[in-house]
């Protein structure tokens, strides 16, 4: 299942981003942000004329790149005259995750990051996840009290996303 699900506005700022486990949030933010380049590349690869018939599902982002996974933490030791802080900074290095992209006709992007160690995920499942996501997103947009461009704070959407995520064990 997914470990991170993000909805990105047309202008490429996050409308919604949620990940498990929570402490890796930063890492996923970076991941999703970086994926946008590939998404944009994929969109622009389809000609203008074809844009309407284009399939919304973009498939696997980064199909070729495989990165190494690095040990997870670095510790910065920081001295002050008063006391000493050990600050744990999440190592931002990524990977071992597969990213999938999906772009609606209004150029809102969905990115799902899945744990690639989970081999049981098939393309079809990913597709249906995106479809569910899209439907739920449409519901959010239909809410007359939702101001387009605001971050999504819908309980229904939240619960739908939670259902698609791996529960942190």
């Amino acid at each position: 299942m997914a470990v991170c699900i993000a909805v990105i506005a047309k202008e490429n700022y996050p409308l919604y981003i949620r990940s498990v486990p929570v402490q890796n949030e930063l890492k996923f933010h970076y991941t999703v942000h970086t994926s946008l380049d590939v998404v944009e590349e994929k969109i622009s690869a389809v000609g203008k004329a074809m844009a309407d018939q284009r399939e919304l599902y973009l498939g696997l982002l980064y199909p070729t790149e495989d990165y190494k996974v690095y040990p997870s933490h670095m510790i910065i030791v920081y001295y002050t005259p008063v006391c000493m802080f050990f600050i744990l900074i999440e190592n931002i290095l990524l990977y071992r995750h597969t990213r999938y992209g999906y772009v609606t006709n209004s150029k809102v992007k969905f990115v799902i990051v899945a744990d690639s160690s989970n081999t049981s995920l098939r393309d079809n499942e990913i597709r249906s996840m995106f479809r569910k996501l899209h439907n739920s997103f449409t519901d959010v947009m239909c809410n007359p009290f939702y101001n387009p461009g605001d971050t999504i704070q819908s309980k229904a959407f939240d619960s739908m996303v939670s259902a698609m995520m791996v529960q942190a064990s």
């Binding site: 933010h29 990165y67 040990p71």
Partner: protein, 1471 residues
Amino acid sequence: MAQCVQSVQEFIQDSFVPMVAVLCSEDAEKVTRKNNLNFSELLRPFCRLTSEGHMRDPSNQLQVVKNLRISVNNVVTRPSVPSSGVPGHAHRRLLSEVVLTCQPAEGGVANVITAGDYDLNISDRSLKASVPWYSDWRDTLTELSTSKHYTATTPWFEAYRESFLQSMPASDHEFLNHYLACLLVVSSSEAVPVEKFLKLSQEQHRIQHSGEYTNPKWFIPNTLKYYVLLHDMSQGDEQRADSVYEDMKQRYGAQGCYLLKVNSRTAAAGADEQIPDPWSQYLHKSSLQTPVVVNNTAVENNVGGTSEVDGHDSEEKGSLDNTHPLQLDTPSDTPGSLDALRAVAVETKPPPLTTGVAAATSHGACLTLNDHDRIRLFIQEFTFRGLLPHIEKNIRQLNDQLVSRKGLSRSLFSATKKWFGGGKVPEKSIAELKNTSGLLYPPEAPELQIRKMADLCFLVQLYDLAYSCYHTAKKDFLSDQAMLYAAGALEMAAVSAFLQVGAPRPYPAHYMDTAIQTYRDVSKNMVLAERCALLSAEVLKSQAKYSDAATLLIKMTSEDSDLRSALLLEQAAHCFINMRNPMVRKFAFHMILAGHRFSKAGQKRHALRCYCQAMQVYKGKGWSLAEDHINFTIGRQSFTLRQPENAVTAFRHILTNDSQQTSTQQGAFLREYLYVYKNVTGACEVALPQLPLPCINSSATRVYFGHERRLAEGEKQAATHVSLDQEFDRDLAAMWQDLEEQVVAAAKRGVVPATFQSTQCCLNSQTDNLRFPLAVVEEPIIVEVVFRNPLKVPLVLSDLSLLWKFTLKDFNRPQTQEDSVGDAVPISNEKEASVPRVRVCVTFVSINFFCLIPLCLLPQARLKLLPHQTGQLNILGLVYNLGTSVRGRQDLEIQGPRLNQTKEEKTSVSHGPDRRLDPTITPPMPLLEVFFLQFPTALLCGEIRKAYVEFCNMSRVTLCGLRVASTHPDFFTFGSSSLATPLTPLSPTSFENCSAYKTLATPPGATPGSVAAVTLVSEGDFGSGTGLRGGVSGAGTGGKGITEIPLGEGTLKPGESTQLPMWLRGPDQEGVHEIHFLFYYESAEKGGKISHRVLRHTVFICASRSLSVRATACRSNTLPEEEEEERNGSMLVFVDVENINSSEAGVREFHIAQVSSSSKQWRLHKCINPAEDKDCKLTSRERGKLCFRATRCKPLQAEKYTFADLSLGNELIITSTTPCADFFFRRCQPLESLRPPVAMETQGRHSRSQGVGHGGGDKDIAGVVRKCNEVDLDIIILWKAFVVEDNKQVILEGQLHVALQTIDKEACSLTPKEEAQEMVLLKFKPELPPPMTRPSMEQLSHLIKTNLQYPESYSHPFNQKRYLCMVPVTLTLSNCSLAQVDVIIDLRHKTTSPESLEVHGSFTWLGQTQFKMQLGAQEVMRVQLRACFLHAGVYNLGTPRVFAKLADQGAMCETSQQTATPALIIIINST
């Protein structure tokens, strides 16, 4: 991208150059040492050949050798890099130094790359620290500064690459960096130079062939020896040198030796001459190229030098040490090699004190330009005469060997075929045959001979030949499964394929990939893999295959070297941004990764730069988590790099933006920020810096003028006025302003001055802040600042105070010069040193401790200022301590409301001024305090209560013109001023159980309720004069509720206070009432800036139900003559009183103490209660009825009100005095205003029809008809309630008013509850005028009052043959209207209703049965009738029908008049 100064071809060419070793005698070394250089260093800037060389390839074709460079190095026998393929510490350290010293120039030209919607500023344009060759270095510089096509350089990367490549260890599988030749250098000052040459030659031979040393490696067994005689021009004998040289020529041949003359001047003499110093650019890295210098001293010097240059502190150094444990600390690493080093390179001991910087200044001090030329010539001579022929010869030799042995072309052909045809060998073999990677060929193996030849060809730019040789070699190696060798051949094959002129074949990128993979995975040799990757990436970049290059570079990042990973990641990032569709985000991301690795590698400056560049992409795009992370890193790096300002800015970003971090994270951010901030502020003491936290919601700032109020003082209750605790309510504010306007109008005799401006005591964002607010001297100004804590951790503020500026101004004496001159300078408390002087003008109170708890909605701080002098005050901001000891300020800047009046303002966004914080301090004004004593909170409806008000003048100025305006003027009264006699004791203490009313004991013996006491009162005496007059004249708006407060002399002296009684009457409606008072007063001294002041008070009164009174007036049927007073008609008034109190208030019972009337026309005459019950008592839900007769007043009293009091108890309340009459008149006011709608209801249709223009007659009818039914009688019910309160019986008093307006219409004391506002239908067409209607039948039926007079019983002896009984009956008709009425009396009319069927038999009227007559206004007429009865019995005489119509209305038909009640007569048979 990392654009290189060199082209790719140049770069690769320079990476592989012929290597030349140097062996130097001590004397020769001394000669060069004068220039602070050793011999190889001396040559280094001149090692690039500017002229073309020529040589023949094996097929005897002449080839041009262009731009050749050679590398001259001292012989070092110690292996510089351990053979394991992992760079040693020293090596790493040096690379790190190179990168560290090469930093982007500060303030470089902005270099903006536009990628999509991002504008990236990559401003690291800088000089390349290493200039490739001397002759061109100037050109390079100019090219650098003028070139347009390059975008971003990363000179540190190039420096790194260059150092890296040059320090590549020589390995066995390739020959490229093996020494080809050896220069033997001997000084001419040597006693016997030839002998020395011999010795050196032997030394070289020993090094190469004895087998003692594995290093250096030599290309070919018979290395070219070139003999150089070094002559010092300043010292030696030139003649002798020449002769020695001649001798050498004899011995070694003219092409094998050279005489080099240097040091044409002495160091001291040459100071005046400016000689370019090409070495300075070089020698920075020279230590790398000649690892000889790498000994302990050099390392120390380098470290010392860098810390000087960069100003790094020990912390920095410490971290460097952490990442790279010092070689010094672990001398056991290579003790042997160090010793060896010393033994061989004795001459290289540098003076220990020379630092890198110092050495650079003195290079080549003894060399003239001539000498430079000589050296250049020497190199050229050596290369073209010595080296190239030597290489040429060797190539031929090797070629011959190979051809003879194998047949090169065949092998080449088959290899090609094998490679492209069906060979899957290489891929498989890599995977399977790792264990054979250790395979070593003996040095003379034929396979290596091909490789050797290929390398030779490559070095002299014979790339075609080199390629074919590499290709063959590769095939051979692969078939032998010698993977390391194969990888080397693959690598070089690819490179030479790329370098071939005209590129006959595409660049075989897969060769490179295979090579890298082999190096890395099979041979575990990262150095070689890295070299390969660097070359390949460069080639790929030159072919615009950026994505491939990036992939390659990213693959090379690994854990073992942070520095390399960082540099490669950065290059990869640059690749992403250079793609045709720039991938900005990937760029940013990899920059961050690079920055991370840089910081791990101790390269803080580079790390910072990387993060900053990445920041450009993330900034302000909503990726807050990432942004915070970058900001945090930037902040920390900046701080460690001694850029605290940047650090503060970066941290501020994290804290001020709405951060989504966890609270622990935020806490860490905050601590860090405070720490950094403290360091910054510690550095500069000039002005307090701005703090970013907490956020101040400046528009929510409120300013309050005046003292903080005490709400209660003992039993005194102070006026509520305005306080900061109240929320602003727009409606309320409008209401207050309206009240103030009214009271000002009343005070200014009905006119509101044009300059009127309502008093605002508390300014906030919704008040009108366009004008400078006025504050009074010696009265505090309280500023409430609203904070917002954006963090999830608490913020502690302490020592808060306001920052302000004050300009003195004397408003009283503006003409005096010296005052204004001296005081024009604004005084401010911005600098805390000037506090004592400042105290004179304004004192301020600071808050000691204030904690902002996260998620607390709007924490506010109230700060107080007390101005002591008049002038202009500007409140600038806040000063406070954040956290423990960080002191800073924050300005309060309030943006005014957006202007939206004119077109320009609508189209642009402009804001008006907001002067909330700029009060003008004016001279003293009176200050009123109002206290209420015994002020109730709950009242019964209509209850009268007496309370006391105390007015205090708190200021030093006399107060006058005290007035009060209220929203409920009927609620209170101060009594009428005309009746000056104190009616009740003035002091409230003796008030207990004393009635609020003025009472008289009823004379003993008099029957209660028998006769009314009558008083005449003029309206003007009551109703607090102005109010009513205003009410009459001012059409509803002007001063309807204004009361002048009767102060003793109209003024209140400073410090004085007065107590006045005040009567309250519970509102008629039950429920909670909000009652507002506005006290208005002026200063006795006129002409101040403030014309008046006001004080507000709001009370809440809870009214509970008491009695409900309903009254009806009926015409009495009594005859007018009965009493004189009733000549003008009389009425019966029925009063129904019901106790509707739901006894929760403990009301036991109500007594109706008195009923009074007040009217201009009618008065109550007497009580005609049938019951003898003299005191009417009503317990809960009980109902009582009272009947009264009312008579008309005497006509001359038209303008005066007649008060008639009918006491039912034993004391008489004089209603015509305060407070009863006051309340009576006060309640009239709203009634007056209520009347129009009432009138509309009753006769509105009429008045409307007039407007349409129908005849005036209708109006008359209406008027007449109404008049005839109208009663204008007000009944006042005075009651007493017995209430049990705390086991004590309390008597409460009250009065209720009922206004009787129409006869037979019930009126109620409770104004009918406002019916739910009827939904008004929207009508788009004007409503049709309603059809003209006449006065209703019902109204018309009241025109004539009829009365039958007859004996109640009549005895008649029927049995005495007198069968008929005649009874005389008088019918009295009285005209109630003021018009002539035609009346028809019809006696024949029989009732047709079944119920009135004569049961007892019928009677008949005798005589005339129909009368027609006319009655004048209020005329009474009697008609004599006779009734005839046949039997005894009870008869109803009320059968005559009276029809009436107004005399002048011909068209109208007569209306049947209401008959009197059944008139029963009893006929008795008297027998």
